[in-house]
């Protein structure tokens, strides 16, 4: 080790942080080198000065501040509930009493709202189902056009038609607007969702309209947002002219024809002549495959006969109960093999 290396190791040497070999080399060099001896002496003094600095008294508030922060943090960890439990009785009893009163009042209000809903739903439902069992033929609107119609809010015709339905319940087909699937699923218990669903959905809406509650208006508005066709609700007094509470029966038949494409127009015509209304047409494989038709019960027989003139009808032997004022028929068009 040369002079410079040894000089740089003097600090570690003073701390005893050199190897035995380094130590003997350094000590041998120190005997010969007065410059390094001087440096060693200065370093010893420097260390002494630094070590003599001593401790510095912290400010008296330091521990208090630290503990205030720590107690706050510990309090946050324990949580509000635990702190509530640790409140003295004179505070805890009023807090608990207030919470009990709040829960009781809330529970009572919820019960009142729910029970009033339930009592009004049952009697109303039949009335609106009956709307779709018209005793008279529908207006002479083109069934094809009406079936295709999609919700068109700007179309004024839907408003008077709807008004008219209550007093003279001929159902305009285009008022049966396609609904969101969720609504249909909820409402339709029968295997004909396109026809049954709108009825039930409307019941939901009407139920809100007839409730004598402050929030009825807003609930109705919300309902109208999902059912754009059902705006301008007729007054409930008109609807209270109660009709038989029969539910339209759903009948599924299959019509086997030689030419399914040309049969579509024939079926439309047959429906119109029987006084029925095409509620919905469904496409499959690029052509019309299903019809949902609503008919008066007494018109069903004639309608089936008309269909039989077009092709083979299967499934028509289903018995229609006497209670059914209206019937929905789901016609499946199949090509003859």
């Amino acid at each position: 080790m040369d002079h410079d290396s040894i000089r740089h190791k003097l600090s570690a040497y003073l701390d005893g942080a050199v190897t035995a070999a380094e130590k003997s080399l350094i000590e041998r060099h120190l005997e010969e080198c007065s410059d390094c001896r001087n440096t060693l002496h200065e370093l010893e003094k420097t260390i002494h000065h630094v070590r003599s600095l001593g401790e510095v008294e912290p400010p008296p508030w330091l521990a208090v501040k630290v503990m205030a922060r720590i107690r706050e943090e510990a309090g946050r960890k324990r949580g509000v509930l635990l702190r509530l439990l640790q409140l003295p009785l004179r505070w805890r009893i009023p807090v608990e009493a207030a919470a009990l009163v709040f829960l009781s009042v809330t529970g009572y209000l919820v019960y009142r709202n729910v029970s009033s809903d339930m009592t009004q739903v049952v009697p109303l439902s039949g009335e609106f189902r009956e709307e779709y069992a018209p005793p008279v033929p529908p207006p002479a609107a083109s069934p094809k056009a009406s079936v295709k119609s999609s919700p068109e809010p700007g179309k004024p015709s839907s408003v008077p038609m709807k008004e008219k339905r209550a007093a003279e319940p001929a159902p305009p087909a285009h008022s049966v607007a396609p609904l969101p699937s969720s609504v249909r699923e909820d409402a339709s218990p029968v295997p004909s969702p396109p026809a049954g669903a709108p009825v039930m959905a409307e019941e939901k809406g009407q139920n809100f309209r007839l409730q004598d509650r402050d929030d009825a208006k807003s609930a109705f508005s919300a309902d109208r947002m999902s059912l754009p066709e059902q705006e301008e609700a007729p007054s409930w007094t008109m609807r209270s002219k109660s009709l038989p509470t029969a539910v339209p029966e759903v009948l599924g038949i299959e019509l086997i024809v030689a030419d399914p494409e040309s049969a579509v127009a024939d079926i439309e015509r047959a429906t119109e002549r029987s006084g029925g209304v095409i509620l919905r047409k469904e496409m499959q494989g690029g052509r019309v495959r299903f019809f949902s038709v609503r008919l008066q019960r007494e018109a069903v027989q004639g309608y089936l006969e008309r269909l039989e003139s077009l092709g083979d009808v299967r499934g028509a032997q289903s018995i229609i109960p006497d209670t059914a004022a209206a019937v929905e028929i789901r016609v499946t068009i199949s090509g003859r093999q």
Binding site: H8, K9, L10, S11, A12, D15, A17, E42, L43, K45, T46, I47, H49, V50, R51, S52, L53, G54, E55, V56, E57, P58, P59, L62, A63, K65, V66, M67, R69, I70, R71, E73, A74
Partner: protein, 204 residues
């Protein structure tokens, strides 16, 4: 103001630490009161500022409380607490240094000390001897001024060695430095302090 420093035995605080872990805040307060002077001294020697040292020590104790679950007891509680304090002080020091417009000093300079000691402590023309100053506050202030003139990185190493009297290995662990680096930094810091004291005190 000045107290004689005492080292804490490695397992001296084990019982209090266990009580703290069980949620005993009074036990933690005992630890705070016991170690606050030592931690404050450490922070003050590194930062050279009373207010900053107070803030850092507060933060260090709060951080220790939060992380008590991570303290495994491999080292003494004081060593662990010192590690937290010195690292917080180092971070603060780096912030302070970056804020200040300083004279250009590099870690690679032969003398890492610059600026404060040479600027604020010009050698007096009629200087008393070092021996006369030794027990006086003025000398201590000048020594602290020399420490304040060291670059960050050198200060913590010097304070941990010559004020706190930790070994090179312990300092390396605390500052996450190789032992050789610690040795080198302490050597250069001492040389810088020596040169600074020569300038501010005169006869050495």
């Amino acid at each position: 103001m000045i107290r004689t420093k005492k080292r804490t035995l490695p397992d001296e605080d084990a019982e209090l630490v266990a009580s703290c872990r069980a949620g005993d805040l009074d036990a933690f307060e005992s630890l705070v009161r016991k170690h606050q002077t030592r931690m404050f001294t450490l922070a003050f020697r590194v930062l050279g500022n009373y207010e900053d040292a107070g803030e850092i020590v507060q933060d260090a104790f709060v951080s220790a409380y939060r992380n008590l679950g991570k303290f495994r007891g491999d080292a003494a509680f004081t060593t662990w607490l010192t590690t937290i304090t010195v690292n917080l002080a180092r971070n603060r020091l780096q912030q302070m240094v970056s804020r200040r417009s300083r004279e250009v000093c590099s870690l690679d300079d032969p003398v890492p000390g610059c600026g404060e000691c040479s600027k604020s402590h010009d050698p007096p023309s009629d200087r008393p001897s070092a021996h006369e100053l030794l027990e006086r506050e003025e000398l201590r202030q000048r020594v602290q001024g020399c420490i304040n003139g060291l670059e960050p990185g050198f200060r913590e190493a010097l304070v941990l060695r010559d004020v706190e009297e930790y070994s090179y290995g312990e300092i390396g662990t605390m500052l996450r430095l190789a032992e050789g680096t610690v040795k080198s930094r302490i050597a250069r810091a001492r040389e810088a302090i020596r040169d600074c004291l020569k300038r501010v005190v005169g006869e050495f």
